[in-house]
Amino acid sequence: MTTSEEHEPEFDALVRPYVITNGRGFSDSDRFDLVTLVTAAPDQQRKAHLGPEKRELVELCEGGYLSVAEIAGHMKLPIGIIKVLLTDLAEDGYILTRAPIPPAQLADIQVLQEVLDGLQARFG
């Protein structure tokens, strides 16, 4: 299992994930999913009081909107842990969220069929 991995870390993280959230493993709130976009709230005076991970997360989001999955990738933490942190941060007003960008509407297959039929009737 370990040999096939390309990104084998040299050593494991010093601070284990369960310590970062102080034992909270999974946030039941469905406010965040993988593609929820997150950005830092505009005014950030109290940031110094945050723990290192939360501060890093807020700073990460200061550049603009990032998805939860991207944040987890950058922070090298499990997504569940990131969600716990995000829930805390959102409650305290450090971050803002935005619903994921909706996928483009697919054109109605029936309309396309009618156009095709029309074109064929005209030119075919």
Partner: protein
């Protein structure tokens, strides 16, 4: 006069005196000889006794050494397994991080950390090594790492953050020492009380203070603790008692080996024990770039350049964190961002990038990476 000469008493006196003198002289001589013999015997007895003690000590030492070397190699295997398991657990956590199983994984992770710590403690007492290479870490992170290695870690509160970091060589020993102190603190205090860690900078270095609200220690316990913590009288594996009490012995060995000091002789404001770890300047450094950011910005910018700077889809790789935002905001010059960006992160994110980018129009391959996402709107 003549009647005296005829007096047998006189003759008796004349004959008796030298006789008595001879007898007394002889007696003295015998006594002296006996005394000499006694001294000789005594010295030989002491000599024998010393030899015997030496032999016993020697045998004990040899037995101790044998025990130590056997335990040391056994512990090395266990330490290796614990580390391997931790890496495996980390991987599974990343893989299933979005599911409810994560909670169980975190619990397993916690148990494994405790297991690893126990193995390390025994290894230390057997003159073994801690067996983990660590990067420079902030005192705060080391304290939190220690917190993660004990059973009741949720009762521990790390109060203050500091700008000091511990040199890589000392990270693991300090974490282990703090973990042993926290283990004691949580074991000897009521389950509903918290154990507090404060980090203070002092002229000689940095103090890490562990306060519990337990019952404290009596004078006898304090004396024993001070003796063990000094590290001057190394404790053998065979002297730990039953059930074995590792804590102070392990701390003493590590403190002596790495050159810091630990004391438990003061009492905490909450009535329990106050343990103070004094880290001297030699073990301290400043964080490489910015506090709590293991990777600096520069490698982050260079990492993609070393590889072909495009993804598999032929798109440019994101270079800077500022540009990684899907929807960039007005301020772009902010340079203090501290991602854990590295080659690894870049590669990990590659998959995600390919996913998001393949969903966009073909034209986007010619746009700047910082502008991607605009056309989605």
């Amino acid at each position: 006069m003549t009647q005296y000469i005829q007096d047998p008493a006189l003759w008796g006196l004349i004959v008796g005196t030298p006789l008595a003198a001879t007898v007394i002289y002889q007696g003295r001589k015998t006594t002296a000889r006996l005394r000499k013999q006694k001294d000789e015997l005594e010295s030989r007895h002491t000599e024998l006794q010393n030899n015997f003690t030496d032999a016993v000590d020697d045998a004990r030492l040899r037995a101790e050494e044998a025990t130590k070397s056997a335990l040391k190699s056994a512990m090395r295997t266990l330490q290796g397994l614990a580390n391997e398991q931790q890496l495996a657990i980390s991987k599974v956590q990343d893989k299933y991080g979005d599911q409810h199983i994560l909670e169980d994984l975190l619990e397993i992770d916690h148990m494994n950390s405790q297991f690893g710590r126990r193995a390390q403690s025994v290894a230390v007492l057997c003159d073994g090594w801690l067996g983990r290479q660590r990067a420079v870490a902030s005192v705060y992170d080391v304290a939190r790492s220690a917190k993660g290695r004990i059973r009741h870690y949720t009762r521990v509160e790390v109060r203050s953050q500091s700008n000091f970091a511990i040199i890589s060589r000392a990270v693991e020993p300090v974490a282990l020492v703090l973990a042993e102190l926290l283990d004691n603190a949580t074991s000897y205090s009521a389950p509903e009380t918290t154990v507090e860690i404060n980090i203070r900078s002092v002229p000689k270095g940095v103090c890490v203070i562990v306060d519990d609200a337990g019952v404290g220690m009596n004078e006898e316990e304090k004396t024993r603790a001070a003796r063990l913590l000094s590290g001057e009288h190394p404790v053998g594996v065979t002297e730990l008692g039953n059930p074995p009490q590792f804590g102070f012995a392990v701390i003493g060995v590590l403190a002596a080996r790495y050159g810091f000091s630990v004391s438990v002789d003061s009492s905490s404001p909450y009535g329990g024990v106050r343990a103070v770890v004094l880290l001297p300047q030699e073990l301290l450094t400043s964080m490489p770039e910015q506090e709590n950011s293991p990777a600096s910005e520069e490698p982050a910018a260079e990492a993609p350049r070393e590889q072909p700077a495009t993804t598999a889809g032929g798109l440019p790789k994101r270079r800077r964190r500022g540009q990684m935002a899907i929807v960039p905001q007005a301020r772009t010059e902010r340079g203090t961002v501290a991602a854990r960006s590295s080659e690894e992160t870049a590669s990990i994110m590659g998959a995600f990038q390919r996913g998001t980018q393949s969903g966009r129009s073909a034209d986007s391959s010619r746009t700047e990476p910082s502008r991607e996402g605009h056309e989605v709107q």
